[in-house]
Amino acid sequence: MSRNLVTATINGDEVEFSCSTGQTLLEVLRGELYLTGTKNGCGSGDCGACTVFLNGRPVNACLVLGVEVGGANIETIEGMAKDDQLHPLQQKFLDHAALQCGFCTPGILNMAKALLEKNPDPSESEVRFGLAGNLCRCTGYDKIIRAVLDAAAEMRASGS
């Protein structure tokens, strides 16, 4: 079966990979590039566990084909912490215990980051609707919402 050669920027690095036409970005990230921090919870765009940034916008990696991302800029959970510094959202998720099993966490962190980029001062309700595409079965969302609101406050205060 013929494979396509694709070049994209992933977490700041230029990456070349080959994929079959039917392979999703999620399959490429996990299966070809071993970036397994992006999770596969459903494969049908319903759980949000594979949320990554594609050219600055959050997408479900399971609904994007690998061949579509040629020349694109992709950011995954592996690129969220910079140097030695966790992102404020990552910090607040730990401080608020906003994860139990942690499987939905990478997708939710990326979606929350996207939300705060658009709306740095969201209400509780806005955070809830902003994360409504990401399923978490462990936490009941309470601590996740608190962590996101707290991270937003800190990011506003520090101007980041």
């Binding site: 079959s20 459903c42 592996e78 499987f103 409504a132 009941g140």
Partner: protein
């Protein structure tokens, strides 16, 4: 020091503190490795062919075309899985029948539900494996099916198992039946109790099967070697249980299978058993290559166990002053394709939060053409509590009594016992109810179209087998190994308890989950037993290490070990008169140990008992949209006796998560079948679990009545929040619309229809 020695409740350095979890950074950076995150060199990919029929005889399976496909390396059917005889009575409370398990993981004579595994392929890619499935030719003879447990229990119902005869019936039945067994529990004289009653309330209820909904798919990698060994990497709530079931099923020796538990992305009981593991092992044995098997979300809905659906009837009699004189309940559970519905737990759950003189409960375990039910967070309990608590709320309404007042009048206290005979030590039932009454939520005003629900949840927690090893490294850092997968932050609690015992900084203690060849047997991470039982093993092992450290100091100082105390991470002379002896720190002792007899370690393998009961009470406000019937929870408060919260963040997390699972159970979640009994909603879009915008904040009010059987007072905390939740939410909806609603989930069409009836009734 004994297990039961309680540490003083105050001045803990780490227990009860909110600290960052030890596995946290890995989980927010994507490093943590879950079931599907592992790769092995030369790995093959397996896929399973599943039945499109709910009930059919397998006439033939032809794999020749699939085998010929390039890239296909191995195919198995039930012929490649050893058969096992039907188990015989007396049956244990939890049935792990190898006869059934072998047929559930790979259908043998018949397929018994839509999605039942029929064959499995290992190929060089998942795509090729999927292609190969299409080339397998299975000839079926389709049989009539049955989904409803009451229908299935009738004599003329389609029979799933020709060799299943209802157990415990005298004389033994001559005809096979889908009714595997009926069990009863009784106390006092139920007839006398009803005769004494001045008011009797009776209602019937139903609930649908709901799935655990863990977000991480069931995934494993098996690697079989030429010498008969197997390495298994799997997402499981119990790698020792997975090992035991695989070994017994495949007639292997336990020590030949080495199971490593991956990080686990949720389980809620759904990962207590095995599905793909033996299939991956057999394919690996056949192909001599590592085999990865990941179930898709659709396969998980169709073929891994949801919890049982139910029909129930509850009848309660009371005096006018609210004292309950008699309580009777009967419940039918859909076991799914194989026996083993959680009937025993149902018996116990209905009324065990109450002190009632006359009780009778009955539960029926009925096979139907659905996936075999699995445990789900307090298996068998939420549906029973839904029926019992709703009826008790009705009783309060009929008596014109406050719902909490009625509970206080009948609540069980220390010295009481559950129906099945569990004696209660210090319990927080009354404390919980008092806290409800004094909470602002209890009397807060409600808006238009809003209602307030209230219900209790009870669960008797388990202890069981746990092993822990504590190793003191020669730089004075500590590693703790246990055999209990960490599903919700238990490593935080293990670390806190060990650091507390040692009197050292938390960061010096590293907890890990060891594989089945590296630590002794540890039962499932289930029933909230881990912090209790495994925690106790950790405490014991730490204390053994401390004793060895004290002995080392005694040797160094040439004094009796009895004269050495352990204080704040140091060995100190007990006799303060020995002013010339300076305390030795853990680090100093650890450095000395290799030259003075060897490294220091502690080990503990226990069978913990005394986990005891825990109680939850819940207040929930909902708003019902009169136009659509959509129910929106607006406010939720959970009051729970948690014994002692070792990691309060994660105890609250259990409470909040359990409540929201209950919201889903009560309002949205259900299995939907077509007329051929094929599951219609096999994805998260149509099987709709609560999302963030569906729910409010969940206030968790923790009441600490320490459990005297645990050194720090731990009680199980995971189950009671879910046990109470469907009943609490349902009662809020009833309260809002002023009409009884007796069938979960309370989805918009049902609520709208009830509203229509309500309006008609008002006219």
């Amino acid at each position: 020091m004994s297990n039961t020695e309680n540490r003083a409740a105050t001045n803990y350095q780490w227990v009860g503190k909110r600290t960052r979890r030890p596995d946290g950074v890995d989980k927010v950076t994507g490093r943590a490795r879950y079931g599907d995150d592992m790769v092995a060199a030369g790995m093959l990919h397996a896929k399973i062919l599943r039945s499109p029929h709910a009930h059919a005889k397998i006439i033939s399976i032809d794999v020749s075309k699939a085998k010929a496909l390039k890239g296909v390396k191995g195919i198995i059917t039930s012929a490649d899985i050893p058969d096992h005889p039907l188990s015989k009575p007396p049956y244990p409370p939890i049935i792990n029948d190898l006869h059934d398990i072998s047929r559930n993981i790979m259908a043998r004579e018949k397929v018994l539900y839509d999605g039942h595994a029929v064959a499995a392929v290992a190929a060089t890619s998942e795509r090729i494996a999927r292609e190969a499935l299409k080339l397998i030719e299975v000839e079926y003879e389709v049989l009539p099916h049955v989904l409803d447990p009451r229908e299935a229990a009738k004599p003329d119902a389609p029979i799933l198992h020709e060799d299943q005869f209802t157990f415990g019936v005298d004389p033994a039945p001559e005809k096979p039946s889908n009714l595997f067994r009926s069990v009863s529990g009784q106390r006092g004289d139920i007839e006398k109790g009803f005769a004494e009653a001045e008011i009797v309330v009776e209602r019937t209820f139903s609930s649908e099967p709901v799935h655990q909904g863990f977000i991480e798919p069931l995934s494993c990698i098996a690697n079989a070697t030429e010498d008969g060994g197997v390495e298994l990497w799997t997402s499981t709530q119990g790698h020792f249980v997975a090992r035991g079931l695989c070994a017994r099923l495949l007639n292997m020796e336990l020590s030949k299978i080495r199971v490593t538990a991956s990080e686990i992305g949720g389980g809620f009981g759904g990962k207590n058993t095995i599905y793909g593991e033996p299939v991956a092992i057999r394919l690996s044995q056949l192909t001599r290559r590592p085999v990865r098997l990941v179930m898709s979300r659709s396969e998980i809905f169709r073929a891994s166990g949801p919890t049982v659906g139910s029909y129930s009837r509850v009848r309660i009699g009371a005096k006018k002053d609210g004292v309950i004189t008699a309580a009777e309940a009967e419940i039918w559970y859909q076991a799914g394709a194989f026996k083993g519905a959680p009937v025993g737990r149902a018996l116990d759950t209905f009324f065990s939060a109450y002190s009632i003189e006359n009780i009778k409960t009955t539960a029926h375990d009925v096979c139907v053409n659905r996936a075999k039910a699995a445990a789900y967070r307090a298996p068998g309990a939420p549906m029973a509590a839904y029926a019992a608590e709703s009826t008790i709320n009705d009783l309060a309404a009929r008596l014109g009594m406050d719902r909490v007042e009625l509970r206080l009048k009948n609540a069980v206290r220390e010295g009481g016992e559950s129906l099945m005979g569990a004696k209660y030590g210090p319990i927080g039932m009354i404390d919980v109810l008092e806290k409800v009454r004094s909470h602002e939520h209890y009397s807060a005003p409600l808006g238009p179209n809003q209602g307030r629900g209230f219900a209790l949840g009870y669960w008797l927690h388990g202890g069981g087998l746990s092993t822990a090893s504590v190793n003191v490294q020669d730089d004075g850092t500590i590693t703790i190994a246990t055999g209990s997968p960490d599903i919700g932050g238990s490593r935080s609690s293990m670390r806190a308890m060990a650091a507390e015992e040692l009197g050292i900084d938390l960061e010096r203690v590293i907890p890990i989950i060891a594989d089945t060849s590296s630590i002794g047997y540890s039962h499932l991470t289930a029933g909230s037993r881990t912090t209790y039982a495994t925690g106790m093993a950790v405490i014991n092992a730490t204390r053994e290490a401390i004793d060895k450290l004290r002995a080392l100091a005694a040797k160094k100082w040439e004094i009796p070990v009895e004269e050495v105390n352990w204080e704040a991470g140091h060995a100190c002379p007990a006799d303060t008169a020995r002013g010339d002896i300076k305390p030795l720190s853990l680090t100093e002792l650890a450095g000395m140990a290799p030259k003075m007899g060897g490294a220091i370690a502690g080990h503990s393998a226990i069978n913990a008992s005394g986990a005891g009961a825990a109680f939850s009470a819940q207040l929930v406000d909902v708003e019902v949209d009169p136009e659509t019937g959509f129910v929106s929870p607006k406010r939720y408060t959970v009051f729970q006796d948690v014994g002692r919260a070792i990691s309060p963040d994660y105890v609250e997390g259990q409470i909040q998560g359990g409540a929201v699972q209950g919201i889903g159970w009560a309002l949205n979640e259900e299995y939907v079948y077509d007329d051929q009994a094929r599951l219609q909603n096999t994805g998260f879009l149509d099987y709709r679990m609560p999302v963030a915008s569906d729910v409010p904040m969940i206030e968790a009010v923790m009441i600490e009545v320490p459990n005297p059987n645990h050194p720090y007072g731990v009680r199980g905390v995971g189950e009671p929040p879910l046990v109470a939740a469907p009943a609490a939410v349902a009662s809020a909806v009833e309260n809002a619309i002023g009409k009884p609603l007796s069938s979960l989930p309370l989805s918009p069409p049902k609520v709208l229809s009830a509203l229509g009836r309500a309006r008609a009734g008002d006219d």
